[in-house]
Symmetry: C2
Subunit: 311 residues, 2 copies
Protein backbone atom coordinates (compact mmCIF):
# COMPACT_ATOMS: atom_id res chain seq x y z
CA UNK A 1 0.00 0.00 0.00
CA UNK A 2 1.39 3.41 -0.95
CA UNK A 3 2.35 5.55 2.02
CA UNK A 4 3.41 9.15 2.42
CA UNK A 5 5.57 10.43 5.27
CA UNK A 6 5.33 13.97 6.59
CA UNK A 7 8.08 15.08 8.94
CA UNK A 8 8.14 18.16 11.16
CA UNK A 9 11.72 18.91 12.18
CA UNK A 10 12.09 20.58 15.57
CA UNK A 11 15.11 21.55 17.68
CA UNK A 12 15.24 18.41 19.84
CA UNK A 13 13.07 15.89 18.04
CA UNK A 14 11.22 15.23 14.83
CA UNK A 15 7.56 14.40 14.58
CA UNK A 16 6.65 12.03 11.76
CA UNK A 17 3.26 11.10 10.37
CA UNK A 18 2.39 8.17 8.14
CA UNK A 19 -0.40 9.07 5.72
CA UNK A 20 -2.41 7.33 3.04
CA UNK A 21 -2.14 9.07 -0.33
CA UNK A 22 -5.70 10.34 0.30
CA UNK A 23 -4.53 12.28 3.34
CA UNK A 24 -5.59 10.03 6.19
CA UNK A 25 -3.15 10.28 9.09
CA UNK A 26 -2.63 6.63 10.09
CA UNK A 27 0.14 6.79 12.69
CA UNK A 28 2.64 9.20 14.21
CA UNK A 29 5.97 8.94 16.00
CA UNK A 30 8.19 11.34 17.89
CA UNK A 31 11.89 10.64 17.22
CA UNK A 32 14.36 12.30 19.60
CA UNK A 33 17.27 13.91 17.75
CA UNK A 34 20.13 16.22 18.48
CA UNK A 35 21.88 17.93 15.65
CA UNK A 36 21.31 16.18 12.31
CA UNK A 37 24.63 16.63 10.55
CA UNK A 38 26.41 13.26 10.26
CA UNK A 39 25.72 9.70 9.13
CA UNK A 40 24.97 8.51 12.68
CA UNK A 41 22.39 11.29 13.07
CA UNK A 42 20.84 10.49 9.68
CA UNK A 43 20.57 6.83 10.71
CA UNK A 44 18.59 7.80 13.83
CA UNK A 45 16.08 9.50 11.54
CA UNK A 46 15.87 6.75 8.91
CA UNK A 47 15.66 3.96 11.51
CA UNK A 48 12.99 5.84 13.45
CA UNK A 49 10.94 6.27 10.29
CA UNK A 50 11.33 2.61 9.33
CA UNK A 51 10.15 1.59 12.79
CA UNK A 52 7.06 3.81 12.44
CA UNK A 53 6.27 2.07 9.14
CA UNK A 54 6.93 -1.44 10.41
CA UNK A 55 4.92 -0.91 13.61
CA UNK A 56 2.01 -0.08 11.33
CA UNK A 57 2.19 -2.83 8.72
CA UNK A 58 4.22 -1.00 6.07
CA UNK A 59 7.81 -0.97 4.81
CA UNK A 60 10.31 1.51 3.37
CA UNK A 61 9.38 0.30 -0.12
CA UNK A 62 5.80 1.50 0.36
CA UNK A 63 6.86 5.13 0.75
CA UNK A 64 6.09 7.06 -2.45
CA UNK A 65 6.67 10.53 -1.05
CA UNK A 66 8.48 11.97 1.93
CA UNK A 67 8.35 15.62 2.91
CA UNK A 68 10.23 17.50 5.60
CA UNK A 69 9.61 20.97 6.90
CA UNK A 70 12.44 23.20 8.07
CA UNK A 71 12.38 26.43 10.10
CA UNK A 72 13.93 28.55 7.36
CA UNK A 73 13.66 29.58 3.73
CA UNK A 74 13.19 27.08 0.90
CA UNK A 75 13.09 28.67 -2.53
CA UNK A 76 10.87 27.86 -5.52
CA UNK A 77 13.36 25.21 -6.69
CA UNK A 78 13.26 23.40 -3.32
CA UNK A 79 16.71 24.57 -2.19
CA UNK A 80 17.06 25.06 1.58
CA UNK A 81 18.56 28.38 2.72
CA UNK A 82 20.11 29.39 6.04
CA UNK A 83 18.72 27.62 9.14
CA UNK A 84 19.78 29.74 12.11
CA UNK A 85 17.77 27.84 14.73
CA UNK A 86 18.65 24.19 14.12
CA UNK A 87 21.73 22.14 13.28
CA UNK A 88 20.81 20.29 10.11
CA UNK A 89 22.66 19.29 6.95
CA UNK A 90 19.74 19.14 4.51
CA UNK A 91 21.76 17.69 1.63
CA UNK A 92 23.27 14.94 3.76
CA UNK A 93 19.91 14.04 5.23
CA UNK A 94 18.35 14.05 1.78
CA UNK A 95 20.97 11.62 0.47
CA UNK A 96 20.46 9.29 3.44
CA UNK A 97 16.67 9.37 3.00
CA UNK A 98 17.04 8.70 -0.71
CA UNK A 99 19.00 5.53 0.10
CA UNK A 100 16.57 4.41 2.81
CA UNK A 101 13.39 5.16 0.83
CA UNK A 102 14.38 4.55 -2.79
CA UNK A 103 10.87 4.98 -4.28
CA UNK A 104 10.04 8.18 -2.45
CA UNK A 105 9.85 11.63 -3.97
CA UNK A 106 11.60 13.89 -1.44
CA UNK A 107 10.80 17.53 -0.71
CA UNK A 108 11.80 20.18 1.79
CA UNK A 109 9.27 22.87 2.69
CA UNK A 110 9.49 25.95 4.86
CA UNK A 111 7.55 25.29 8.09
CA UNK A 112 4.94 28.02 7.71
CA UNK A 113 4.44 27.07 4.06
CA UNK A 114 4.04 23.45 5.15
CA UNK A 115 1.36 24.47 7.65
CA UNK A 116 -0.49 26.30 4.88
CA UNK A 117 -0.32 23.25 2.62
CA UNK A 118 -1.62 21.09 5.47
CA UNK A 119 -4.65 23.34 5.85
CA UNK A 120 -5.12 23.18 2.06
CA UNK A 121 -4.99 19.38 2.06
CA UNK A 122 -7.04 18.47 5.11
CA UNK A 123 -7.85 21.65 7.05
CA UNK A 124 -9.94 24.83 6.95
CA UNK A 125 -8.73 25.76 3.45
CA UNK A 126 -9.70 22.41 1.90
CA UNK A 127 -11.82 23.93 -0.89
CA UNK A 128 -9.91 27.19 -1.28
CA UNK A 129 -7.77 27.98 -4.30
CA UNK A 130 -6.18 31.05 -2.72
CA UNK A 131 -5.56 31.87 0.92
CA UNK A 132 -2.91 33.07 3.30
CA UNK A 133 -2.05 31.30 6.54
CA UNK A 134 -0.91 33.67 9.28
CA UNK A 135 1.03 31.56 11.78
CA UNK A 136 1.25 33.51 15.02
CA UNK A 137 3.76 32.01 17.39
CA UNK A 138 6.95 33.41 18.87
CA UNK A 139 7.16 35.27 15.54
CA UNK A 140 4.66 35.70 12.72
CA UNK A 141 5.12 33.34 9.79
CA UNK A 142 2.98 32.92 6.77
CA UNK A 143 2.11 30.66 3.91
CA UNK A 144 0.73 32.12 0.70
CA UNK A 145 -1.31 29.89 -1.62
CA UNK A 146 -2.45 31.06 -5.05
CA UNK A 147 -4.08 28.80 -7.63
CA UNK A 148 -3.75 25.89 -5.19
CA UNK A 149 0.04 26.18 -4.91
CA UNK A 150 2.38 27.55 -2.29
CA UNK A 151 4.32 30.70 -3.22
CA UNK A 152 7.80 29.99 -1.87
CA UNK A 153 9.37 32.95 -3.60
CA UNK A 154 12.31 33.34 -5.96
CA UNK A 155 14.62 33.93 -2.97
CA UNK A 156 12.71 31.84 -0.43
CA UNK A 157 11.07 34.88 1.20
CA UNK A 158 7.50 34.23 0.03
CA UNK A 159 5.04 34.36 2.93
CA UNK A 160 7.35 36.35 5.23
CA UNK A 161 4.31 38.35 6.21
CA UNK A 162 5.60 38.96 9.73
CA UNK A 163 7.91 41.44 8.02
CA UNK A 164 5.28 43.57 6.33
CA UNK A 165 6.02 47.08 7.56
CA UNK A 166 3.00 48.34 9.50
CA UNK A 167 4.48 51.25 11.45
CA UNK A 168 7.07 53.45 9.77
CA UNK A 169 7.45 55.47 13.00
CA UNK A 170 8.70 52.52 15.10
CA UNK A 171 12.09 53.11 16.72
CA UNK A 172 12.70 49.59 18.10
CA UNK A 173 14.30 47.09 15.73
CA UNK A 174 12.73 43.82 14.61
CA UNK A 175 14.83 40.62 14.57
CA UNK A 176 15.29 41.16 10.83
CA UNK A 177 17.07 44.49 11.42
CA UNK A 178 14.23 46.57 9.97
CA UNK A 179 11.74 48.59 12.01
CA UNK A 180 7.96 48.49 12.37
CA UNK A 181 7.39 44.90 11.20
CA UNK A 182 4.01 43.24 11.88
CA UNK A 183 5.85 40.68 14.01
CA UNK A 184 6.77 43.41 16.51
CA UNK A 185 3.10 43.78 17.48
CA UNK A 186 1.19 40.68 16.42
CA UNK A 187 3.47 37.80 17.45
CA UNK A 188 3.16 36.18 20.88
CA UNK A 189 6.25 38.06 22.02
CA UNK A 190 4.94 41.25 20.42
CA UNK A 191 1.59 41.01 22.20
CA UNK A 192 3.34 40.49 25.55
CA UNK A 193 5.75 43.38 24.82
CA UNK A 194 2.90 45.76 23.95
CA UNK A 195 0.95 44.59 27.02
CA UNK A 196 3.86 45.43 29.30
CA UNK A 197 4.26 48.82 27.62
CA UNK A 198 0.56 49.51 28.07
CA UNK A 199 0.77 48.55 31.76
CA UNK A 200 3.76 50.86 32.22
CA UNK A 201 1.92 53.72 30.48
CA UNK A 202 -1.04 53.21 32.82
CA UNK A 203 1.06 52.61 35.92
CA UNK A 204 -0.72 49.29 36.44
CA UNK A 205 0.83 45.97 37.42
CA UNK A 206 0.93 43.30 34.67
CA UNK A 207 -0.59 39.92 35.52
CA UNK A 208 1.89 37.14 36.27
CA UNK A 209 3.38 35.81 33.03
CA UNK A 210 5.07 32.45 32.61
CA UNK A 211 7.45 33.91 30.01
CA UNK A 212 7.93 36.42 27.21
CA UNK A 213 5.42 34.68 24.90
CA UNK A 214 2.66 33.93 27.41
CA UNK A 215 -0.25 35.39 25.47
CA UNK A 216 -2.67 33.03 27.20
CA UNK A 217 -2.31 35.04 30.41
CA UNK A 218 -2.76 38.30 28.47
CA UNK A 219 -5.92 36.93 26.81
CA UNK A 220 -7.22 35.77 30.21
CA UNK A 221 -6.49 39.19 31.69
CA UNK A 222 -8.41 40.80 28.84
CA UNK A 223 -11.42 38.57 29.55
CA UNK A 224 -11.45 39.83 33.14
CA UNK A 225 -11.36 43.49 32.11
CA UNK A 226 -7.63 44.33 32.16
CA UNK A 227 -7.50 47.50 30.04
CA UNK A 228 -3.82 47.17 29.17
CA UNK A 229 -4.48 43.65 27.89
CA UNK A 230 -7.41 44.92 25.82
CA UNK A 231 -5.17 47.64 24.40
CA UNK A 232 -2.47 45.10 23.43
CA UNK A 233 -5.05 42.92 21.67
CA UNK A 234 -6.54 45.97 19.92
CA UNK A 235 -3.04 46.93 18.79
CA UNK A 236 -2.49 43.42 17.41
CA UNK A 237 -5.85 43.48 15.59
CA UNK A 238 -5.27 46.92 14.11
CA UNK A 239 -1.81 46.13 12.74
CA UNK A 240 -2.78 42.64 11.61
CA UNK A 241 -5.93 43.90 9.87
CA UNK A 242 -3.83 46.60 8.21
CA UNK A 243 -1.25 44.04 7.03
CA UNK A 244 -3.92 41.70 5.63
CA UNK A 245 -5.40 44.67 3.72
CA UNK A 246 -1.96 45.21 2.13
CA UNK A 247 -1.84 41.54 1.13
CA UNK A 248 -5.31 41.83 -0.42
CA UNK A 249 -4.33 44.64 -2.82
CA UNK A 250 -1.49 42.44 -4.07
CA UNK A 251 -2.94 38.91 -4.32
CA UNK A 252 -6.54 39.31 -3.07
CA UNK A 253 -6.95 35.84 -1.54
CA UNK A 254 -10.31 34.21 -0.78
CA UNK A 255 -9.51 33.78 2.89
CA UNK A 256 -7.04 34.27 5.69
CA UNK A 257 -6.41 31.56 8.28
CA UNK A 258 -5.08 32.41 11.72
CA UNK A 259 -2.87 29.63 13.04
CA UNK A 260 -0.15 29.14 15.62
CA UNK A 261 -0.47 29.35 19.40
CA UNK A 262 -2.41 32.62 19.40
CA UNK A 263 -5.16 31.01 17.30
CA UNK A 264 -6.49 29.54 20.56
CA UNK A 265 -7.71 33.04 21.44
CA UNK A 266 -9.37 33.58 18.05
CA UNK A 267 -12.88 34.09 19.45
CA UNK A 268 -11.60 36.87 21.67
CA UNK A 269 -10.25 38.98 18.79
CA UNK A 270 -12.25 37.67 15.80
CA UNK A 271 -14.65 40.65 15.55
CA UNK A 272 -12.05 43.33 16.16
CA UNK A 273 -9.70 41.80 13.57
CA UNK A 274 -12.46 41.64 10.94
CA UNK A 275 -13.37 45.27 11.65
CA UNK A 276 -9.75 46.40 11.27
CA UNK A 277 -9.33 44.49 8.00
CA UNK A 278 -12.52 46.00 6.56
CA UNK A 279 -11.46 49.47 7.66
CA UNK A 280 -8.18 49.24 5.73
CA UNK A 281 -8.96 47.03 2.71
CA UNK A 282 -9.89 48.04 -0.81
CA UNK A 283 -13.70 47.68 -1.22
CA UNK A 284 -13.82 44.58 -3.49
CA UNK A 285 -11.82 42.51 -0.97
CA UNK A 286 -14.01 43.26 2.04
CA UNK A 287 -15.71 39.86 1.83
CA UNK A 288 -12.47 37.92 2.25
CA UNK A 289 -12.99 35.54 5.18
CA UNK A 290 -10.79 35.38 8.27
CA UNK A 291 -10.99 31.99 9.97
CA UNK A 292 -9.04 29.97 12.52
CA UNK A 293 -6.78 27.22 11.15
CA UNK A 294 -7.92 23.74 12.13
CA UNK A 295 -4.98 21.33 12.20
CA UNK A 296 -3.06 22.95 15.06
CA UNK A 297 0.46 21.64 15.57
CA UNK A 298 -0.05 18.83 13.05
CA UNK A 299 -0.55 21.19 10.09
CA UNK A 300 3.11 21.26 9.01
CA UNK A 301 3.34 17.46 9.15
CA UNK A 302 0.32 17.18 6.85
CA UNK A 303 1.68 19.87 4.53
CA UNK A 304 5.16 18.35 4.22
CA UNK A 305 3.58 15.09 3.13
CA UNK A 306 1.33 16.90 0.65
CA UNK A 307 4.19 18.87 -0.89
CA UNK A 308 6.25 15.71 -1.42
CA UNK A 309 3.31 14.14 -3.24
CA UNK A 310 2.47 17.15 -5.40
CA UNK A 311 5.58 19.34 -5.49
CA UNK B 1 -3.77 28.26 -40.00
CA UNK B 2 -4.66 28.76 -36.33
CA UNK B 3 -4.86 32.41 -35.32
CA UNK B 4 -5.21 34.15 -31.97
CA UNK B 5 -6.75 37.60 -31.56
CA UNK B 6 -5.73 39.98 -28.78
CA UNK B 7 -7.96 43.00 -28.27
CA UNK B 8 -7.20 46.10 -26.22
CA UNK B 9 -10.45 47.93 -25.45
CA UNK B 10 -10.11 51.70 -25.11
CA UNK B 11 -12.63 54.47 -24.60
CA UNK B 12 -13.05 55.46 -28.27
CA UNK B 13 -11.57 52.57 -30.22
CA UNK B 14 -10.28 49.04 -29.89
CA UNK B 15 -6.87 47.90 -31.00
CA UNK B 16 -6.75 44.34 -32.28
CA UNK B 17 -3.76 42.14 -33.04
CA UNK B 18 -3.69 38.95 -35.07
CA UNK B 19 -1.10 36.52 -33.71
CA UNK B 20 0.23 33.12 -34.58
CA UNK B 21 -0.12 30.62 -31.73
CA UNK B 22 3.64 31.01 -31.24
CA UNK B 23 3.20 34.68 -30.37
CA UNK B 24 4.20 36.37 -33.62
CA UNK B 25 2.20 39.58 -34.12
CA UNK B 26 1.18 39.36 -37.79
CA UNK B 27 -1.19 42.30 -38.26
CA UNK B 28 -3.02 44.95 -36.26
CA UNK B 29 -6.10 47.10 -36.75
CA UNK B 30 -7.62 50.05 -34.94
CA UNK B 31 -11.42 49.83 -34.90
CA UNK B 32 -13.28 53.02 -33.94
CA UNK B 33 -16.04 52.34 -31.41
CA UNK B 34 -18.35 54.32 -29.21
CA UNK B 35 -20.11 52.58 -26.38
CA UNK B 36 -20.26 48.79 -26.87
CA UNK B 37 -23.65 47.92 -25.42
CA UNK B 38 -26.02 46.83 -28.23
CA UNK B 39 -26.12 44.46 -31.20
CA UNK B 40 -25.14 47.21 -33.69
CA UNK B 41 -22.08 48.05 -31.54
CA UNK B 42 -21.13 44.38 -31.23
CA UNK B 43 -21.36 44.06 -35.05
CA UNK B 44 -18.88 46.92 -35.49
CA UNK B 45 -16.43 44.93 -33.40
CA UNK B 46 -17.01 41.54 -35.02
CA UNK B 47 -16.97 42.95 -38.58
CA UNK B 48 -13.81 44.93 -37.84
CA UNK B 49 -12.12 41.80 -36.57
CA UNK B 50 -13.25 39.74 -39.57
CA UNK B 51 -11.84 42.39 -41.90
CA UNK B 52 -8.49 42.27 -40.07
CA UNK B 53 -8.42 38.50 -40.61
CA UNK B 54 -9.51 38.60 -44.26
CA UNK B 55 -7.07 41.40 -45.14
CA UNK B 56 -4.37 39.06 -43.91
CA UNK B 57 -5.35 35.75 -45.47
CA UNK B 58 -7.31 34.27 -42.59
CA UNK B 59 -10.98 33.73 -41.68
CA UNK B 60 -13.16 33.67 -38.56
CA UNK B 61 -12.90 29.89 -38.54
CA UNK B 62 -9.12 30.11 -38.03
CA UNK B 63 -9.50 31.87 -34.68
CA UNK B 64 -8.78 29.42 -31.85
CA UNK B 65 -8.58 31.98 -29.07
CA UNK B 66 -9.74 35.55 -28.59
CA UNK B 67 -8.85 37.64 -25.55
CA UNK B 68 -10.05 41.11 -24.56
CA UNK B 69 -8.67 43.37 -21.89
CA UNK B 70 -10.91 45.67 -19.91
CA UNK B 71 -10.05 48.64 -17.66
CA UNK B 72 -11.53 47.09 -14.53
CA UNK B 73 -11.54 44.02 -12.29
CA UNK B 74 -11.83 40.48 -13.67
CA UNK B 75 -11.90 37.81 -10.99
CA UNK B 76 -10.24 34.37 -10.93
CA UNK B 77 -13.27 32.84 -12.68
CA UNK B 78 -13.06 35.35 -15.57
CA UNK B 79 -16.11 37.40 -14.46
CA UNK B 80 -15.90 41.11 -15.31
CA UNK B 81 -16.67 43.54 -12.47
CA UNK B 82 -17.59 47.23 -12.53
CA UNK B 83 -16.14 49.24 -15.45
CA UNK B 84 -16.45 52.91 -14.42
CA UNK B 85 -14.50 54.35 -17.37
CA UNK B 86 -16.06 52.70 -20.42
CA UNK B 87 -19.55 51.79 -21.66
CA UNK B 88 -19.33 48.07 -22.33
CA UNK B 89 -21.71 45.14 -21.90
CA UNK B 90 -19.18 42.32 -21.51
CA UNK B 91 -21.76 39.52 -21.57
CA UNK B 92 -23.47 40.82 -24.71
CA UNK B 93 -20.14 41.28 -26.48
CA UNK B 94 -19.03 37.84 -25.41
CA UNK B 95 -22.18 36.25 -26.89
CA UNK B 96 -21.72 38.13 -30.18
CA UNK B 97 -18.07 37.09 -30.39
CA UNK B 98 -18.99 33.48 -29.63
CA UNK B 99 -21.36 33.51 -32.63
CA UNK B 100 -18.85 35.22 -34.93
CA UNK B 101 -15.84 33.10 -33.89
CA UNK B 102 -17.35 29.71 -33.04
CA UNK B 103 -14.05 27.86 -32.54
CA UNK B 104 -12.44 30.50 -30.33
CA UNK B 105 -11.84 30.22 -26.62
CA UNK B 106 -12.86 33.63 -25.22
CA UNK B 107 -11.36 35.37 -22.21
CA UNK B 108 -11.57 38.74 -20.52
CA UNK B 109 -8.53 40.03 -18.66
CA UNK B 110 -7.93 43.13 -16.57
CA UNK B 111 -5.77 45.54 -18.57
CA UNK B 112 -2.80 45.65 -16.23
CA UNK B 113 -2.91 41.87 -15.86
CA UNK B 114 -3.01 41.58 -19.66
CA UNK B 115 0.08 43.79 -19.94
CA UNK B 116 1.87 41.52 -17.47
CA UNK B 117 0.91 38.41 -19.45
CA UNK B 118 2.14 40.11 -22.63
CA UNK B 119 5.54 40.69 -21.04
CA UNK B 120 5.52 37.05 -19.90
CA UNK B 121 4.74 35.78 -23.40
CA UNK B 122 6.96 37.96 -25.59
CA UNK B 123 8.52 40.69 -23.45
CA UNK B 124 11.10 41.30 -20.70
CA UNK B 125 9.65 38.58 -18.46
CA UNK B 126 9.85 35.85 -21.10
CA UNK B 127 11.85 33.43 -18.97
CA UNK B 128 10.49 34.48 -15.57
CA UNK B 129 8.18 32.31 -13.51
CA UNK B 130 7.34 35.06 -11.04
CA UNK B 131 7.32 38.81 -11.50
CA UNK B 132 5.22 41.89 -10.90
CA UNK B 133 4.46 44.45 -13.60
CA UNK B 134 4.08 47.97 -12.25
CA UNK B 135 2.12 49.92 -14.86
CA UNK B 136 2.63 53.61 -14.18
CA UNK B 137 0.21 55.76 -16.13
CA UNK B 138 -2.49 58.14 -14.95
CA UNK B 139 -2.78 55.72 -12.03
CA UNK B 140 -0.59 52.82 -10.91
CA UNK B 141 -1.81 49.39 -12.01
CA UNK B 142 -0.15 46.07 -11.57
CA UNK B 143 -0.03 42.51 -12.77
CA UNK B 144 1.18 39.79 -10.43
CA UNK B 145 2.51 36.55 -11.91
CA UNK B 146 3.41 33.56 -9.73
CA UNK B 147 4.31 30.13 -11.11
CA UNK B 148 3.78 31.48 -14.64
CA UNK B 149 0.15 32.49 -14.01
CA UNK B 150 -1.59 35.79 -13.40
CA UNK B 151 -3.05 36.31 -9.92
CA UNK B 152 -6.42 37.93 -10.64
CA UNK B 153 -7.64 37.58 -7.09
CA UNK B 154 -10.73 36.04 -5.53
CA UNK B 155 -12.52 39.41 -5.77
CA UNK B 156 -10.71 40.74 -8.85
CA UNK B 157 -8.40 42.97 -6.81
CA UNK B 158 -5.16 41.05 -7.42
CA UNK B 159 -2.38 43.35 -8.64
CA UNK B 160 -4.01 46.55 -7.33
CA UNK B 161 -0.58 47.60 -6.18
CA UNK B 162 -1.31 51.30 -6.71
CA UNK B 163 -3.35 50.93 -3.53
CA UNK B 164 -0.62 49.62 -1.27
CA UNK B 165 -0.57 52.06 1.64
CA UNK B 166 2.83 53.75 1.75
CA UNK B 167 2.12 56.79 3.94
CA UNK B 168 -0.23 56.41 6.89
CA UNK B 169 0.14 60.15 7.63
CA UNK B 170 -1.34 61.33 4.30
CA UNK B 171 -4.36 63.62 4.69
CA UNK B 172 -5.39 63.81 1.00
CA UNK B 173 -7.67 61.05 -0.28
CA UNK B 174 -6.86 58.65 -3.09
CA UNK B 175 -9.46 57.94 -5.79
CA UNK B 176 -10.27 54.71 -3.90
CA UNK B 177 -11.35 56.69 -0.83
CA UNK B 178 -8.40 55.55 1.29
CA UNK B 179 -5.37 57.69 2.14
CA UNK B 180 -1.66 57.31 1.47
CA UNK B 181 -1.85 54.93 -1.52
CA UNK B 182 1.24 54.44 -3.71
CA UNK B 183 -0.74 55.87 -6.62
CA UNK B 184 -0.87 59.26 -4.86
CA UNK B 185 2.91 59.64 -5.31
CA UNK B 186 4.10 57.30 -8.03
CA UNK B 187 1.49 57.69 -10.80
CA UNK B 188 1.93 60.27 -13.56
CA UNK B 189 -0.62 62.51 -11.86
CA UNK B 190 1.00 61.85 -8.48
CA UNK B 191 4.46 62.83 -9.73
CA UNK B 192 3.07 66.07 -11.19
CA UNK B 193 1.11 66.78 -7.98
CA UNK B 194 4.20 66.26 -5.78
CA UNK B 195 6.28 68.38 -8.21
CA UNK B 196 3.84 71.29 -7.89
CA UNK B 197 3.84 70.92 -4.10
CA UNK B 198 7.66 70.94 -4.07
CA UNK B 199 7.72 74.08 -6.24
CA UNK B 200 5.22 75.79 -3.92
CA UNK B 201 7.31 74.81 -0.87
CA UNK B 202 10.41 76.31 -2.52
CA UNK B 203 8.61 79.35 -3.93
CA UNK B 204 9.84 78.42 -7.41
CA UNK B 205 7.85 78.48 -10.64
CA UNK B 206 6.99 75.04 -12.12
CA UNK B 207 7.99 74.45 -15.75
CA UNK B 208 5.18 74.66 -18.30
CA UNK B 209 3.10 71.45 -18.19
CA UNK B 210 0.83 70.24 -20.96
CA UNK B 211 -1.56 68.73 -18.40
CA UNK B 212 -1.93 67.05 -15.01
CA UNK B 213 -0.07 63.90 -16.09
CA UNK B 214 2.81 65.50 -18.02
CA UNK B 215 5.67 63.69 -16.34
CA UNK B 216 7.84 64.08 -19.44
CA UNK B 217 8.22 67.79 -18.66
CA UNK B 218 8.98 66.99 -15.01
CA UNK B 219 11.65 64.46 -16.08
CA UNK B 220 13.13 67.00 -18.51
CA UNK B 221 13.17 69.64 -15.77
CA UNK B 222 14.99 67.19 -13.50
CA UNK B 223 17.64 66.61 -16.18
CA UNK B 224 18.32 70.34 -16.31
CA UNK B 225 18.73 70.64 -12.54
CA UNK B 226 15.24 71.60 -11.32
CA UNK B 227 15.40 70.69 -7.62
CA UNK B 228 11.65 70.42 -7.17
CA UNK B 229 11.53 67.95 -10.06
CA UNK B 230 14.37 65.93 -8.49
CA UNK B 231 12.47 65.92 -5.19
CA UNK B 232 9.29 64.65 -6.88
CA UNK B 233 11.21 61.84 -8.58
CA UNK B 234 12.98 60.95 -5.32
CA UNK B 235 9.59 60.85 -3.60
CA UNK B 236 8.29 58.50 -6.30
CA UNK B 237 11.36 56.24 -5.99
CA UNK B 238 11.20 56.12 -2.21
CA UNK B 239 7.52 55.18 -2.03
CA UNK B 240 7.73 52.80 -4.99
CA UNK B 241 10.83 51.06 -3.57
CA UNK B 242 9.05 50.78 -0.22
CA UNK B 243 5.94 49.29 -1.89
CA UNK B 244 7.98 46.75 -3.86
CA UNK B 245 9.69 45.72 -0.61
CA UNK B 246 6.24 45.00 0.87
CA UNK B 247 5.38 42.88 -2.17
CA UNK B 248 8.64 40.95 -1.75
CA UNK B 249 7.87 39.83 1.82
CA UNK B 250 4.57 38.43 0.57
CA UNK B 251 5.33 36.76 -2.78
CA UNK B 252 9.06 37.44 -3.30
CA UNK B 253 9.07 37.64 -7.11
CA UNK B 254 12.16 37.19 -9.29
CA UNK B 255 11.75 40.61 -10.90
CA UNK B 256 9.74 43.79 -11.14
CA UNK B 257 8.97 45.39 -14.51
CA UNK B 258 8.23 49.09 -14.78
CA UNK B 259 5.74 49.77 -17.57
CA UNK B 260 3.31 52.47 -18.63
CA UNK B 261 4.12 55.98 -19.81
CA UNK B 262 6.56 56.75 -17.00
CA UNK B 263 8.73 53.80 -18.08
CA UNK B 264 10.16 56.09 -20.76
CA UNK B 265 12.07 57.88 -17.98
CA UNK B 266 13.38 54.62 -16.48
CA UNK B 267 17.07 55.47 -16.93
CA UNK B 268 16.56 58.67 -14.99
CA UNK B 269 15.26 56.94 -11.84
CA UNK B 270 16.64 53.39 -12.23
CA UNK B 271 19.46 53.75 -9.68
CA UNK B 272 17.45 55.64 -7.10
CA UNK B 273 14.59 53.14 -7.30
CA UNK B 274 16.95 50.18 -6.85
CA UNK B 275 18.54 51.89 -3.86
CA UNK B 276 15.16 52.54 -2.24
CA UNK B 277 14.04 48.94 -2.78
CA UNK B 278 17.25 47.56 -1.26
CA UNK B 279 16.93 49.92 1.69
CA UNK B 280 13.47 48.62 2.57
CA UNK B 281 13.48 44.97 1.49
CA UNK B 282 14.15 41.86 3.58
CA UNK B 283 17.75 40.71 2.92
CA UNK B 284 17.06 37.54 0.84
CA UNK B 285 15.05 39.54 -1.73
CA UNK B 286 17.69 42.19 -2.37
CA UNK B 287 18.72 40.55 -5.64
CA UNK B 288 15.26 40.88 -7.21
CA UNK B 289 15.72 42.70 -10.51
CA UNK B 290 13.92 45.90 -11.49
CA UNK B 291 13.73 46.31 -15.27
CA UNK B 292 11.77 48.34 -17.82
CA UNK B 293 8.93 46.55 -19.60
CA UNK B 294 9.57 46.08 -23.31
CA UNK B 295 6.30 45.85 -25.21
CA UNK B 296 5.03 49.37 -24.52
CA UNK B 297 1.43 50.00 -25.50
CA UNK B 298 1.13 46.64 -27.25
CA UNK B 299 1.67 44.62 -24.07
CA UNK B 300 -2.02 44.27 -23.18
CA UNK B 301 -2.89 43.16 -26.72
CA UNK B 302 -0.27 40.40 -26.50
CA UNK B 303 -1.41 39.41 -23.02
CA UNK B 304 -5.11 39.22 -23.90
CA UNK B 305 -4.26 36.83 -26.72
CA UNK B 306 -2.05 34.76 -24.42
CA UNK B 307 -4.70 34.48 -21.70
CA UNK B 308 -7.32 33.31 -24.19
CA UNK B 309 -4.93 30.57 -25.36
CA UNK B 310 -3.84 29.43 -21.90
CA UNK B 311 -6.52 30.63 -19.48
Amino acid sequence: MDKVLGIDIGGTSIKAGMFSTEGELQATAQIPTGEIVGEADFAVVTEGLKKLLEDNGATADDVVALGLDVPGPVDDSGKVGMLPNIKLDPEGLQAALKRAFPHANLAFVNDANAAALGELWQGTAKDASSFVLVAIGTGVGGGVVTDGKIVSGAFGAGGEIGHITVNRDETASCGCGRKGCLEQYASASGIVRVYEQECAARGTEPVALSGPTDTLSVFNACSTGDEAAQAAISCMCDYLGYALAQISVIIDPQMYLIGGGVAGGFKLFDEELHAAFRKYCLVPSKDARILPASLGNDAAMYGSAFQAMHG
